[in-house]
């Protein structure tokens, strides 16, 4: 057990912090900052950030140099991530590419594919989106109905995907399609790489309950792609996808944790600005106990993150325990939203710029409602823990 960072790592932290301070977009993270209303302007801003990260040497920190990475370890990765979180740095637009597609490709892709796709991904030249879920295949991902048929030397894809984040900004989509209807449902699936500018692709935004438009529906109508745009082999898509979901559930807890801590601090500031029956809310033990409990959970999330990174460093992969982290943080964040609204009390309905907290606590409340659903609902995570970690019968 050694939770300290060595001198070199501390230097890296300092270096990261300095770079971030000088490079974060002007006003970013301050309450005054406003995202451009126009989606393509927003996309441009985020993509610029990805490019800047690459130029600064902070893209693919733990990836091999041959694929455009920095050749460092996961420790440096989380250090940068943590510092970025502290300063509320932008997330960039290629999150799914970096966090889900790239590790999947490194595990299952051919050398040629890695060389072809990873460098432009890191540079911000090619943004990726993920086409997994479908209207009738949510929790039951293996039920996907989108089909891919080999016609001559090209795959022709037909079907519909949902919850495709950033599809409207993406250059590529890594997606699952059924390639064999005869096999059991887990067996006949393949992972494909599809250029988003292909003929036959239609993207329709899905507005979330907080008004955000990050998600999309994507329709594939006779979309034709080259035969070689397959990862991990034909009919092996389920195994590939399980790897991807593991990354989705387990990693990046530290950056997220720091952002939660920032939100918590905002909540505390707001509670200090409000009174209840003549008593300051931050001094009222009902709220104090709940705030402290929330703080405890945010800290424990950090411990879980450090444990996961250690496991990744040691064993090179994550097990089904990754579900614990997803369940833990999404539940905690839901509680944060609830507590935020309790703190606001009668101010709760007001979300305008002139309102207490400018609506940030309501945003947490609304946003967190989706977090216990996407990337595997809490119910699915509990099933996984019970069956695959505790070995309870199916």
């Amino acid at each position: 057990m050694d939770l300290s960072f060595n001198e070199k790592q501390e230097e890296y932290r300092q270096h990261s912090r300095e770079w971030l301070i000088h490079n974060i977009p002007k006003g970013w993270g301050t309450p005054e900052f406003e995202m451009p209303d126009d989606e393509s302007e927003r996309g441009k801003l985020l993509r610029n950030w990805d490019r800047k990260l690459y130029e600064g040497g902070f893209a693919g920190i733990s990836w091999p140099k041959e694929y455009g990475g920095q050749g460092l370890t996961h420790v440096e990765e989380i250090i940068f991530d943590e510092e970025a979180g502290k300063l509320n740095a932008p997330g960039g637009i290629n999150v799914l590419g970096k966090l889900l597609f790239a590790p999947t490709l490194m595990l299952f892709g051919t050398e040629e594919q890695k060389h072809r796709f990873l460098p432009p991904l890191l540079k911000g030249d090619e943004v990726w989106c993920q086409g997994f879920s479908e209207p009738n295949a949510g929790s039951d991902l293996a039920a996907i109905q989108t089909r891919a048929e080999l016609v001559g030397d090209r795959w022709v894809i037909n079907g519909q995907k949902v919850w495709t984040s950033f599809a409207h900004h993406a250059d590529w989509c890594f997606m699952l399609a059924r390639t064999d209807n005869e096999l059991p449902k887990h067996k006949g699936i393949t992972l494909f790489l599809v250029p988003m500018n292909s003929e036959g692709i239609t993207v329709r935004p899905l507005v979330q309950i907080n008004g955000n438009r990050d998600f999309n529906e994507v329709f594939f109508d006779n979309v034709s792609i080259p035969q070689e745009n397959v990862v991990g082999g034909i009919n092996n898509g389920w195994n590939v996808a399980m790897g991807t979901l593991g990354f989705e559930r387990g990693t990046l807890a530290l950056g997220r944790q720091v952002r939660f801590q920032n939100e918590f601090n905002t909540l505390v500031q707001i509670s200090k600005s409000l009174n209840k029956n003549g008593e300051n809310i931050s001094q009222n033990s009902y709220y104090r106990q709940q705030l402290a409990e929330l703080f405890v959970e945010i800290r424990i999330l950090r411990y879980h993150g450090l444990k996961t990174i250690s496991q990744l460093l040691n064993e090179g992969k994550l097990g089904p325990e990754a579900s614990l982290q997803k369940l833990f943080w999404s539940t905690m964040h839901l509680n944060m939203g609830k507590l935020g609204l309790e703190v606001l009390g009668e101010e709760g309905p007001y979300m305008g710029k002139e309102s207490v907290g400018r609506g940030v606590l309501q945003d947490i409340d609304l946003g967190s409602r989706g977090e216990t659903i996407y990337a595997g609902t809490s119910q699915i995570q509990k099933n996984i823990i019970a069956e695959r970690v505790l070995g309870m019968p199916r």
Binding site: Q208, N277, G345, E346, G359, R369, Y374
Partner: protein, 386 residues
């Protein structure tokens, strides 16, 4: 002793429910959210059906004060996300009716010709005596549908008309069409029931605007009564809102399949639904009991209202939140309606006393006044050998 609805009550609930089901569909709600204009048709309907003036605080006929009927109507309003200030109308009319000076506006409102709303919160609105009346300045807050209202009831201070600021409070009728006030959308989370702020500058208040006399605590007394009544009706709306979210969700789980099974057959879904049902039924019982208590001048009426509002506030949020969860992915999209219920529950839970405030009122009775109560209850007990 009978805790349940009689046939007329059931019929009222059904007919109101049917009307809203027809005339206040989710499509109506969404179009209101877009163009933010209240339905004239709904206004006329409510007037024609005689639902607006349903509460009569002086009443003592078989319907008592009409509170039980009012909560049934409010439940249906909540169930259908009614985009009309029905609560403010029922409460406002009950207050206006206590003063004979306002008979003509009462009639117009009751017949659906004019729309009334209430400024629930007075930030700092004060009026000073002028030559021909009073001059009112300051800010009012939490005024539902103010943009569409013809009449706003507000509680303002009339300086000098009481020994304390709260004694100076006076209930007045304000004309929202005046050029001496500005109405601003307050960006409420709940787009089905918009809230507005109002700034008053040199607003001329005529003697005729005053309800039940100036100052001397009358305004405060009326407003307190209105807030209690409002809290109860809002609890009823919360119950209706949560009940609809529950049953729509249950219905969804009977349609949606995953892993080759209807998701309603998964025990996790069943247990969430059962917990939601428990909360809905418990909230409903609390609201009905409080309505009866208020109708029959029971000494525990105020306590019963705080029980109802605190319980339904938490229950409404929990149930509507779980409804989103049980819908899975589509539950957190704008096009699904679950978020409308959730946001309505969020607003309803927050205003007219949040759960904390009402529980604190309960605590005063349950904790602070416990000893007095026990002294009353503890008569001498004589023991004998068995």
């Amino acid at each position: 002793m009978f805790f349940g609805l009689n046939d007329e009550e059931k019929m009222l609930r059904r007919s109101v429910g049917d009307m809203f089901k027809d005339k206040n569909t989710i499509e109506h709600v969404r179009s209101f959210m877009e163009d933010k204009t209240m339905s004239k048709e709904m206004q006329k309907l409510l007037g024609d059906q005689g639902l607006l003036g349903i509460i009569d605080l002086d009443g003592s006929d078989e319907n008592g004060k009409g509170i039980v009927n009012a909560i049934l109507v409010a439940q249906e309003a909540g169930r259908h996300l009614l985009t009309y200030p029905l609560l403010e109308t029922m409460v406002g009319l009950s207050a206006l009716k206590t003063c004979s000076n306002h008979t003509s506006v009462v009639n117009e409102i009751e017949n659906g010709k004019k729309v009334i709303t209430i400024a629930w919160v007075n930030v700092d609105a004060k009026s000073r005596k002028t030559e021909n009346g009073y001059c009112l300045d300051g800010t009012l807050r939490e005024v539902p549908f103010a943009k569409d209202a013809d009449v706003i009831l507000a509680n303002v201070r009339v300086l000098g008309k009481g020994r304390t600021p709260s004694e100076e409070e006076t209930l007045v009728v304000i004309d929202p069409k005046s050029t001496n006030l500005v109405i601003r959308d307050a960006n409420s989370i709940d787009l089905t029931y918009p809230l507005f702020d109002i700034s008053l500058l040199n607003y001329h208040l005529d003697e005729s605007a005053i309800v039940k006399g100036i100052g001397m605590g009358r305004g405060k007394q009326l407003m307190d009564q209105m807030r209690k009544l409002g809290a109860l009706l809002l609890s009823a709306e919360l119950v209706g809102c949560a009940e609809r979210a529950l049953y729509d969700t249950v219905e969804y789980t009977k349609q949606r399949a995953q892993f080759g099974k209807l998701i309603g057959s998964f025990q996790a879904m069943k247990h969430m639904a059962a917990d939601m049902y428990l909360k809905v039924e418990s909230g409903k019982a609390a609201v009905e009991y409080a309505a009866w208590a208020l109708d029959s001048d029971n000494e525990e009426a105020e306590l019963a209202i705080s029980i109802a509002k605190s319980y339904t506030s938490n229950a409404g949020i929990q149930v509507c939140g779980d409804a989103i969860q049980m819908h899975g992915g589509i539950g957190f999209t704008w096009e699904n309606e679950m978020h409308l219920f959730f946001k309505r529950a969020r607003r309803s839970a927050a205003v007219l006393g949040d759960s904390y405030s009402h529980l604190e009122k309960v605590a005063k009775v349950a904790i602070d006044q416990l000893e007095e109560q026990q002294q009353v209850a503890n008569r001498e007990v004589k023991f004998v050998e068995v």
